[in-house]
């Protein structure tokens, strides 16, 4: 198993040792975020950049909450690119990175 791509420190601090809360947050994340990631990729694929930006905006606080630090900036960049209607090689590259990191995070969090 590779190193953890997430960090639950913020959630654990908030939960104050309440493992049930952290577990509930993980389940909610796993329930909603994979669907949002699919929507993000589809929006990019169909050239609907406004929707891509809006979905990146929604994923952003989850990335922050779960401490997925490798893509903290990329998800923000995708949001801005979507808003500004920019789609180029850099967009695809960032989307690919977000996709990979989130997919790893999903797998790792499922093991908890």
């Amino acid at each position: 198993m590779s190193d953890k791509v997430y960090d639950l420190a913020q959630l654990e601090e908030l939960g104050g040792g309440d493992a049930e809360f952290v577990s509930m947050m993980v389940m909610t994340f796993l329930e909603h975020t994979p669907g949002q990631l699919e929507e993000l990729k589809n929006a990019h694929g169909s050239g609907d950049l406004a929707t891509m930006g809006a979905i990146a905006h929604k994923i952003k606080p989850n990335v922050d909450m779960f401490g997925i630090s490798a893509i903290v900036q990329d998800i923000r960049d995708l949001e801005q690119m979507g808003k500004n209607g920019i789609s180029n090689a850099e967009t695809a590259e960032k989307l690919d990175k977000v996709d990979k990191e989130l997919t790893i995070a999903f797998e790792q969090l499922k093991q908890l």
């Binding site: 908030l14 329930e31 909603h32 606080p61 989850n62 922050d64 949001e79």
Partner: protein
């Protein structure tokens, strides 16, 4: 507010759960979550105490929802929680009435927590203020002014008329007839009731200080003006200013007051910048102002400017039917306030109360009844318990106390000040001492105004 009902409008389920958990750590918070604007707006009528609103919702933007909330509940505090920091949007939202704009970063939950605590404290203070206002309104409700004589009924009618408009009102009547009570009844029953009522007794302020008291002064405007001070007119802006004993105002200052009332602006001493004000003016005097105008002591133009709706309070001796009603009222109030058992008034005492001329009017009646309640025995107030506050009686008592000359002076002057509505000029005249001596004694706290 004990329980705070918070409506959380957030389409990110993980973030909503995160915030709900965090806010739920305070047992006084009750959080209800909505995923979109439509479902939230449908429930707005249920009256949340606060709304946490995500700026980007699937079916609307924060500003659109904010406008709809404000149209229905303008005072409801709304915290906008946004995924991005955008100063322009934040300014727009705050301008539209948002309570705060919070970015979803690592500090968001703490800022929300703090903002909710502030909202809770403000709501608590507002509630306390409302209770106090209500108490004051009830206290000065004119149904609380006692009396059914034709003279006082006429006064009730005039108070009611005065309360419905912003016309200036001039209240006249002998000392102790309740001029200040009428001024308060007018203010607290008018549409200005939630604004300040600022009262000033013209007779109690040395003439040389009165101008700065009324109109304020800038720092260094005169010797002793160590800091800026706003005047009574500025203080009363939006509400009511009550100028008691207006007949005692120096003729030179009368000219300045007239100008202030005409222009509806005041200029602080030492400043040349006029400041607009909007306050309703009530005045009172125990003098016959028309006569004062005739004698050249009061400006005719100011008289007409202030006259507005004249209310003349009848002296107690002309309210025969009210005397016993008031006597019993004051007695019962005193009994209630001091936890006494019931006291009845003997027929002889009643006869004495009704036959006495009450030169000090209602104020004197109240004082006599309170003292009588203290002196009475076995639940009956007898004629012997009634001590009328004539000057000679009080002086006899005073002499028997064996005080120092300084103390006698203090007691005597304070007695005359009480008797004359704190009118320094009048007291100086009666006691044949310089009014500057009295002002100096007041300033040095050698005598006190009650």
């Amino acid at each position: 507010m004990s329980l705070m009902k918070i409506f959380l409008v957030e389409d990110s389920i993980p973030y909503a759960k995160f915030l709900s958990y965090h806010l739920g750590l305070n047992p006084d918070n009750e959080v209800e979550h909505f995923s979109d604007a439509k479902s939230f707006l449908a429930q707005l009528h249920r009256g949340p105490d606060c709304v946490l609103l995500d700026y980007s919702l699937p079916d609307s933007t924060g500003i659109q929802v904010l406008k709809r909330i404000k149209a229905q509940q303008p005072d409801l505090p709304i915290l906008i929680v946004s995924g991005q920091e955008d100063v322009g949007t934040a300014v727009d939202l705050l301008r539209e009435g948002a309570y705060d704009y919070i970015v979803k970063d690592e500090n968001a939950k703490d800022r929300i927590w703090k903002a909710l605590n502030n909202i809770r404290e403000n709501a608590q203070l507002r509630k306390e203020l409302d209770v106090l206002r209500e108490e004051v309104n009830l206290k000065y409700d004119f149904s609380n002014i006692i009396g059914g004589s034709p003279g006082i009924k006429k006064v009730f009618k005039l108070i009611e008329k005065a309360s419905q408009t912003n016309i200036n009102v001039s209240i006249t009547g002998e000392t102790g007839t309740g001029k200040e009570l009428v001024a308060k009844a007018i203010h607290y029953n008018s549409r200005f009731r939630n604004k300040p009522l600022v009262s000033i007794n013209i007779a109690a302020i040395p003439a040389e200080l009165l101008e700065s008291e009324l109109f304020g002064h800038e720092k260094g405007a005169f010797t002793g003006a160590a800091s800026k001070r706003i005047g009574k007119f500025e203080e009363a802006d939006g509400g009511t200013i009550f100028l008691d004993e207006i007949g005692e105002m120096d003729i030179n200052l009368q000219a300045k007051l007239l100008r202030v009332l005409q222009e509806k602006e005041v200029t602080r001493l030492g400043s040349n910048r006029p400041l607009k004000f909007n306050a309703r003016v009530l005045v009172a005097t125990h003098r016959d102002l028309k006569e004062e105008v005739r004698l050249g002591k009061f400006r005719e133009d100011l008289y007409y400017r202030l006259l507005g709706l004249p209310i003349e309070l009848p002296p107690l001796r002309e309210r025969a039917g009210d005397i016993m009603m008031l006597a019993k009222h004051f007695l019962n109030e005193f009994i209630k306030d001091n936890g006494f058992s019931a006291i009845r008034i003997s027929p002889e005492a009643q006869q004495r109360i009704l036959s006495y001329p009450w030169p000090g009017n209602v104020r004197e009646l109240k004082a006599v009844m309170e003292l009588a309640a203290v002196l009475s025995d076995n639940g009956v107030l007898e004629e012997k318990d009634l001590n009328f506050n004539s000057v000679s009686d009080e002086i006899d008592t005073l002499v028997s106390e064996g005080l120092s000359l300084k103390e006698y002076n203090r007691r005597l002057i304070e007695h005359f000040l009480r008797k004359n509505d704190n009118n320094v000029v009048e007291v100086a005249k009666k006691l044949e001492i310089g009014k500057s001596t009295l002002y100096r004694m007041l300033k040095n706290n050698e005598i006190k105004i009650n």
